[in-house]
Structures are given as C-alpha cells and as structure tokens.
Symmetry: C2
Subunit: 150 residues, 2 copies
DNA sequence: ATCTGTTTAGTTGTGCACAATTAAACATTA
DNA sequence: TAATGTTTAATTGTGCACAACTAAACAGAT
C-alpha cells in the first residue's frame, strides 16, 4: 500500500498531546515559574525552597537524608547546599560519629526565612484555582505514579 | 498563647507531601529517568526527543513554533538545536521571506530516527503499568492545570 | 591488624532551563 | 523614507540535574 512507513507520525501514541510525559514536564516547569515571583522576593530558587521546607520541619538532616526525601543526589545537592551555606542560611559539618556524613543545620537566617515564606503555599493554591477535591485527587494520583517510578 | 510562632512547620500546607508542586517536580524527573535507557540507546536526550516528535509530525517548524509548542524559549532551544544540527538530524536556516525566523527541517538521519524510536511510547506505557482510564484521567487533569498556568 | 566491600560526599563534565540583554529584520506610522 | 516600535533568535550568566568517577570513612571478615 504505502511505501513502507512502519511508524506513521499520526499514530496516537506518537503525538505529543497524547502522552503523559510532556504535560508533566511542562506543568512542572510552569509551576516552578509560578513560584518565581514569591521566591525571587526572598532570593530563593525552587529547589532551595524545597530544602528549606524540610529543614523547617527537621532542623537537622544529613545530605543523604535530604537526597532521599527530594530524590536528588550529592551531585545536585552539594553545590546547592554550598550556595545556601554562603548566604548563612544553613551550616554544613561532618558528623563526628560518622565522618562520612555531612549534617545540614538550619541557621537563624534560615529559620527567619520561614516567617517570610509561610504564605507562599496559600498564594500558590489561589493561583491554581482548583477545588480541594481535585487538588487532592491529582496529588494522590501523582503520589501513586511516583511510587511506581521511584 | 504560644511565643509568637506564626508559621509552625507542621501546618499541613508547609509539609512537602501535602503540596502539589513537589510530586509533579519529582514525577517529572523520574519520568525522564525512565525514558533514559531507551533514549540513551539512540544518543538522545528527553528534550531532543520532544523536538523530534514535533518534527516527525510537521517536517518543518520555526524556532518560534517549536518554542510555542514546547513552552521553551530560544535560550534553551538554540543550543539544543545546534547540537542536533551537529549530529545531522536537522538543518537550521533563515526563512528567506522573513530573515528573523529560523526554519528547522528534518534531515534523513532525523527521519530515520523515527523508526528506531517508534516503540518507546509503548514501552513507557508498560513501565507505568496504568490502566488506560487512569492514564487518560491524569492526562486531562494535567492538561487543565497546564492551561491554567501557561 | 589487614583485607574486602560498602557507604557517603564530593568532583567533573554535559545538557537543559530561564532571566536579561543584544541585534537584526520587519512593520507601522508620521 | 525616516523614525519608532515590534518580533525573532542569539547570547550571556546562573543554577539545577544527573551520569560517571574519586576518595575517604566505616563495617565485617578473617
């Protein structure tokens, strides 16, 4: 029939909008961009904000623990944490009981950041304009997918 | 009551797992990683694969059109497309009728890539192990969210 | 104590992602 | 057509993200 085209570009699978990956990839970047005005006012990047959220909750965490929670490795975290250390937001020191580990601790300037950032989740929620039910449904589906992938 | 702590870290909003953004950010990266074995075999990165999916469908697109479809700007696309040009997958030339635009065209090696990549969506689908219904539901929710954000 | 294997961060190199700026080409209007 | 404004890519600089590798510290076994 046709001149041997085993992969027509209009196969549903092959179209960008029919895939799951592209919407997630795009939404992820757009969401990060939506945080920008709030984070920029605090001189923060989104991954740095994630580190702060964990430190506000736990005060002290090793690089390994941060990596497990954020699904990031030391290749990403080490330079990121060094930048945050330079701004006096946190300290990095070896664990005396296990010199392999590096303990990340919140410093006063980092703790103070919590008050300035505490309204961000609310503001983002408003920006999304989603019903709590839809929000929770989507969150659970992503959680499931993440478990499947991680 | 308490000594003025307006932002307790255990406020539901402030916890990582109660946010929408982190799961999306994490799923996005894990999904890209799940593509890795298939893409690496073709010497492709995920954003390059996205460019290919569009070119397989349209053969020719300007940088502006690619940017609109992928939600990426020239700061990202120009170097990415230059790398793809070096591998002879596509060509970059100014539009003679409007010298501002750059037309990206598929070259033979780029077209040949389609046959090698055409099984990737299927394989990814199997990896996700989702029912078609859940897949479609999640896709639609993300599409809605993307419209809200973009 | 020594050897072996594992764990933990750090380092190096590549490739996005994006804000901000630049410059050329085009469009519009005076 | 000259002046002004807009559009389009490219450039520059910063910060992730990750694969691959290195090196030090620890654990467990002889």
């Amino acid at each position: 029939m046709s001149k041997s085209t085993p992969a027509p570009s209009d196969t549903p699978f092959q179209k960008l909008e029919n895939q799951l990956c592209f919407p997630i990839y795009a939404v992820s970047r757009m969401l990060t961009k939506a945080y920008q005005p709030y984070l920029q006012a605090l001189d923060l990047t989104y991954p740095q904000y994630l580190v702060f959220m964990l430190l506000w909750e736990h005060t002290e965490l090793t690089v390994k623990e941060l990596g497990e929670k954020l699904l990031l490795d030391s290749g990403t975290l080490t330079p990121l944490l060094k930048r945050m250390e330079q701004k006096q937001w946190l300290s990095r020191r070896r664990d005396p009981r296990d010199e392999r580990s590096v303990i990340i601790s919140l410093l006063p300037a980092g703790r103070a950041m919590q008050q300035q950032a505490c309204h961000i989740p609310q503001q983002m929620l408003e920006k999304l304009a989603m019903t709590p039910a839809k929000f929770e449904a989507l969150r659970l589906q992503l959680q499931t997918l993440l478990t499947q992938l991680a």
